[in-house]
């Protein structure tokens, strides 16, 4: 799966979490956007996003890997690594 396709799918996963934000918040997301500091995602949000990612990309993310996710780039890297090793 190429990177752009992953980004597109990840943004679709994140979008419902920003349903009450201004559109500019979603539109301003880039690979370096910090999910906690900039989007105010809490631990429950991150777990819910991980569940969505596991389902969408058919991968399994370990508990210990969740804490390494800070940005979209971290997610992309994790997905690419998992898919490469599948």
């Amino acid at each position: 799966m190429d990177k752009q396709a992953i980004v597109t799918q990840l943004k679709e996963i994140i979008k419902p979490f920003l349903e009450h934000e201004d559109d500019s918040v979603f539109e301003g997301i880039n690979e370096q956007t910090n999910l906690v500091d900039e989007l105010s995602f809490d631990s429950v949000d991150l777990i819910e996003i991980v569940i969505e990612i596991e389902e969408a990309f058919e991968i399994k993310i370990e508990d210990s890997e969740i804490s390494t996710i800070k940005t979209l780039a971290d997610m992309i890297g994790l997905i690419q690594t998992k898919q490469a090793n599948a």
């Binding site: 419902p16 979490f17 009450h20 934000e21 201004d22 429950v44 819910e48 569940i51 596991e54 389902e55």
Partner: protein
């Protein structure tokens, strides 16, 4: 009256999400104008024999703005939203600030008793539907925090950074009023400076199905929804579904005065009891002896005399049996009747029955009536029930708003399934 200065308790903040008005100012206007929040509700229409009539809060973007402000993601339960909106409004109305998220300590002096009933039902419904089709992960990590009984206080406690007692009581339709009395005792006992107290409940259709088959809702298919809630009336035919949230900041007089807060009213305390489901009482029906005793205990507890009560904000749901029983109980307990009976009104004639939110929304209404000195009308009681008309003069049950009514002492009553009762006394604030 119990006027000793030791730990007097006052109301300093109000917040409300009511079917006829979101926000304190809009709600006040609706009460004075006698505006109903009832409407046809499509989602109920094919679901219940009683048809799609209800009084639910209507928003013009306030709900999504609130969720954006507090980053409430995927909040499914409407009752929690109503309770939180009312709670934050009351808090800020009291002139209190919200501790920043990165504050090292919470506000140890402030707590919250925000009651609920079936508040998390949307979340429970979603979780069960997902689990039943094998989508266990879709149940999601957020399900339990919205499904748990303490969800309304847990959400509010976090939003406001409250460090005193944070809990949710649950006593069916007496919940909101009971929360106020619990807050009163916590402050009176010196265990908190202020408590955010109230109640909330959800609107989801499944709540109403059981009430529908119990035949306690107005089932007239041809009636205008605005006419369906008919407390005190001879043609009362059952209550109207309602939903919402109400919250009041209950504070020690010392704390309120120290920070120069506006004081809406004094809370003199009250009484809570149960008829024990003996005599006429059952899990769904109140017993007359329980109600009478609750009123009499309220009088003893607060030191008011029966003749000092100017207005009763009744429970009065619009059922043919319940309302005459309630009025009979007041007549017995106060030994007042006819022209001598206090003013009495029913907010449920405008907002339906908001279940666990009812006592809280109605208490906000009660405080507004004391503070602005008016008696809101009761809608749809042009044909008073004969058993009520026999005991209370018609001019004590206003059908139009009465301004400058001289309301000094107000009794608020709520009764609930489980044969539980709570009665409070609110008094116009004087130093």
């Amino acid at each position: 009256m119990n006027m000793d200065n030791e730990n007097r308790v006052v109301i300093t903040g109000l917040g409300v999400v009511a079917p006829n008005g979101v926000g304190k100012d809009r709600f006040l206007e609706a009460l004075q104008n006698g505006e109903s929040g009832a409407a046809r509700i499509e989602e109920l229409d094919e679901f219940m024999e009683a048809g799609g009539m209800a009084a639910f809060p209507k928003f013009e973007g306030e709900d999504s703005a609130f969720m954006r402000r507090f980053k409430l993601r995927k909040l499914q339960s409407t009752g929690i939203l109503y309770g939180c909106m009312a709670g934050v409004e009351a808090w800020e109305d009291a002139g209190l600030s919200i501790a920043p998220k990165d504050a090292l300590e919470p506000d140890w002096d402030s707590g919250c008793i925000m009651g609920g009933g079936i508040t998390g039902i949307e979340s429970i419904d979603y979780g069960i539907k997902m689990a039943d089709v094998g989508k266990m992960k879709k149940v999601g990590p957020r399900n339990i925090q919205q499904s748990m009984s303490s969800a309304p206080s847990a959400y509010l406690g976090g939003m406001l950074g409250l460090g005193n007692q944070v809990t949710s009581n649950s006593s069916a339709c007496a919940t909101g009023t009971e929360a106020l009395l619990m807050a009163y005792h916590r402050i009176k006992g010196g265990r908190a400076k202020r408590m955010l107290a109230g109640g909330c409940d959800s609107r989801l259709k499944y709540i109403w199905a059981s009430f529908d088959v119990m035949r306690v809702l107005n089932r007239n298919p041809d009636i205008d929804p605005v006419k369906a809630s008919r407390p005190l009336s001879a043609s009362a035919a059952g209550f109207l579904p309602g939903a919402g949230g109400g919250a009041l900041v209950v504070e020690s007089l010392e704390s309120a005065q120290a920070r120069g807060a506006r004081i809406y009213a004094e809370l003199l305390g009250g009484s809570t009891n149960s008829g024990g489901q003996r005599g006429q009482g059952s899990i769904t029906a109140p017993s007359n002896v329980g109600i009478v005793r609750c009123i009499q205990d309220m009088i003893k507890e607060t030191g008011v005399t029966a003749d000092q009560i100017d207005l009763i904000s009744g429970h009065l749901t619009g059922t043919a049996i319940g309302d005459p029983t309630e009025i009979k109980s007041w007549v017995e307990a106060l030994n007042r009747r006819g022209e001598d009976f206090p003013y009495v009104n029913s907010l449920k004639s405008m907002i339906g029955h908001c279940l666990s939110a009812a006592g809280a929304v109605e208490s906000v209404g009660a405080v507004l009536q004391i503070y602005h000195d008016f008696v809101h009308p009761t809608l749809n009681c042009e044909d008073l029930h004969p058993d009520i008309a026999d005991k209370v003069s018609t001019n004590r049950i206003p059908q139009e708003c009465i301004y400058d009514a001289g309301i000094n002492v107000l009794a608020k009553a709520s009764f609930g399934f489980g044969d539980v009762n709570t009665c409070l006394i609110l008094k116009k604030w004087t130093k």
